[in-house]
């Protein structure tokens, strides 16, 4: 476990923990908690996406499908079967992981833009499918009975429980992201990213390696979805499978630096803060999407490696600290 002493891991974990502890130090705790919740949710989603996008080099445009599906499965269990939140969260994660496993064998055979298109198709198909399933409430979705919150100490306490769970989940994701990167499995993924055919010649079993990366990157968003929609109190197809949020996830990964552990954490926090500021600014609130678009364009055209990637490339000494 020598790699656990790497400063890059502790930097990423410390940054995530700092966001998580922020509400405890702020004067207006509930308000700060909501901001920190948005950031930690983004950190979790971006870091999971990074396992596939950054390490493996496969662009999943419809990654939000795992968030939505996990959310639906967990929500259904909470609402209809009164299971404990922890069980529901686990079930949501497993459902998304299973979907990724089944899909993985099929669509991961596609490369480049074809894979990206297929993931969009999967997300749209899933949304259209869920809309037609009466078990999940069809187009209007489901609303959680308010009594459910009583078993978690009332609505206010339930909000804190959800917050702490998302904080814990984000720390776990960052740790897993680091462990994957420094493992033999992660090396295989990065070899696939650089040149899939060469990787196979060198003995990387590409199909199963890619599939497990896909499963891993789907598992955490599935759990996250359950927590978010538990807090939200209702779920509907239009909210669960928003293609736009998928792409926001990609923007966060790109902004921070794809393929790095710290990058998605930094990118998620920066993007969410920027978005928050734009939304409340009188000048920009109507065109916040356009401003985000310009930002994305500038990153793609001029700093494709993201902030962390750029720093690592520019200052050799930082390569030992930033991972």
């Amino acid at each position: 476990m020598k790699q656990l002493r790497h400063p890059g891991l502790w930097l990423a974990l410390a940054l995530t923990a700092a966001f998580a502890l922020w509400p405890a130090l702020a004067s207006n705790k509930a308000y700060t908690r909501e901001i920190a919740f948005t950031i930690l949710r983004a950190v979790t989603f971006a870091s999971s996406l990074n396992i596939l996008l950054g390490y493996t080099g496969y662009v999943s445009f419809g990654h939000i499908v795992f968030y939505g599906l996990g959310g639906y499965v967990g929500f259904y269990l909470l609402d209809e079967h009164n299971v404990h939140l922890a069980v529901a969260v686990l079930a949501g994660g497993l459902a998304s992981g299973l979907l990724a496993f089944l899909l993985g064998r099929a669509i991961l055979r596609l490369r480049g833009a074809y894979f990206a298109l297929a993931t969009i198709g999967v997300n749209e198909a899933m949304r259209a499918f869920i809309k037609n399933i009466d078990l999940f409430g069809g187009p209007t979705g489901m609303t959680l009975n308010f009594r459910v919150y009583q078993s978690y100490g009332g609505p206010d306490q339930a909000l804190w429980t959800t917050y702490l769970s998302v904080a814990a989940l984000s720390l776990v994701v960052v740790l897993v992201s680091f462990l994957v990167k420094s493992s033999r499995f992660g090396l295989g993924l990065m070899a696939i990213r650089e040149n899939e055919d060469a990787a196979e010649v060198m003995g990387v079993v590409a199909p199963s390696t890619k599939t497990w990366a896909y499963v891993l990157s789907a598992f955490f968003p599935g759990m996250l979805g359950v927590l978010f929609f538990f807090k939200n109190g209702n779920i509907e197809p239009g909210d669960a499978f928003v293609l736009h949020q998928s792409i926001e996830g990609i923007v966060m990964v790109m902004l921070g630096g794809q393929g790095t552990v710290l990058g998605p954490v930094l990118g998620a926090a920066a993007y969410q803060r920027l978005r928050g500021l734009l939304l409340v600014s009188p000048l920009f609130k109507n065109i916040q999407l356009a401003v985000a678009g310009v930002l994305l364009l500038v990153i793609v055209l001029f700093v494709p490696a993201g902030v962390v990637g750029w720093l690592r490339g520019r200052f050799a000494i930082l390569r030992r600290v930033l991972e």
Binding site: A113, A128, N286, L296
Partner: protein, 291 residues
């Protein structure tokens, strides 16, 4: 029930077809999936809307302006967002064109809001036997057919058109033959967005829309491109007709004896499952050639 729905679907299919043709042309020439396709379709709709409701212009004449605007806009988008990353991995061009998408939607939402609009333009309808068809749909299909024919002539009979096909075949070789490939790529991108804008303009003459409406037509264009073979513009027209026919026929299949009723809400499920399946089994498209 079945025949009118089929004809209605086919007429709509022509319009879907030219939207997809734009996407397919850009993909074929430069391996770029243009994710700003949807907002440009929406801009085409608003072009017709503003000219008709504001200035009282005839929608079909305005279409020429929309075409010119689409062409110019495409060339600008290429120069600003695509040119620099054209040889980078797919992620870069996908994100660059998506950034354009966000910019157009962001500004569009601020200017036009997201409330629904419609072009209140009617030419009546004709009845053929027991089939009743509105003239706007028929004219849209005719216009789409005309645009396709012009595109075909342009690609096969003119110097720039031939250059586009040469660049599609092999960009490096075309460059060596003295073709200014950068201009040809810009022109192809412009033609692609022009087709998107025209299809949007035609849709606006019979469906209500918002600034966000382009999104669903963009996704339909993906499905059509995959049906017809990515990078094969004429295949896109056939793919469009196929999708239009499916959309027309699936909801009324239940009226036939022995077939269970399928609700309209299942149509997108069928479409997207078909889409993913074709991508898996025949990524070159149903009509694409083996390569």
């Amino acid at each position: 029930m079945l025949i009118p729905s089929l004809i209605d679907g086919l007429l709509l299919g022509f319009v879907y077809g030219i939207a997809a043709m734009g996407l397919s042309l850009i993909w074929g020439v430069m391996d770029v999936i243009n994710l700003s396709h949807g907002p440009i379709i929406a801009l085409g709709m608003f072009g017709i809307y503003l000219a008709f409701n504001g200035l009282g212009m005839n929608p079909y004449l305005t279409l020429l302006l929309v075409m010119a605007g689409g062409l110019l806009l495409g060339i600008v988008i290429y120069g600003v967002a695509v040119q620099r990353v054209i040889d980078a991995p797919h992620l870069s061009t996908l994100l660059a064109t998506f950034a354009v998408n966000m910019i157009i939607i962001g500004i569009g939402t601020a200017v036009f809001t997201t409330s629904p609009r419609n072009v209140d333009f009617s030419l009546g309808s004709i009845s053929l036997g027991n089939v009743s068809l509105t003239w706007t749909r028929i004219l849209a299909a005719v216009a789409a057919g005309g645009v396709t024919a012009l595109l075909y002539l342009f690609l096969h009979r003119t110097q720039p058109g031939k250059a586009i096909r040469a660049v599609t075949d092999n960009r490096a070789a075309a460059e060596l033959m003295g073709i200014p490939t950068n201009w040809i790529l810009a022109l192809s991108f412009g033609l692609g967005t022009m087709l998107a804008a025209v299809s949007g303009g035609l849709i606006a003459t019979f469906f209500p829309f918002t600034i966000l409406a382009g999104g669903s037509y963009e996704v339909k264009s993906f499905v059509i491109c995959v049906l017809g073979g990515l990078g094969n513009p004429l295949g896109a027209l056939i793919g469009g007709l196929l999708l239009g026919a499916l959309e027309g026929v699936i909801p009324v299949l239940g009226s036939l004896p022995g077939i269970p009723n399928i609700e309209t809400s299942w149509v997108p499920v069928v479409e997207f499952v078909l889409f993913v399946l074709i991508l898996l089994v025949r990524p070159q498209g149903l009509l694409g050639s083996e390569s």
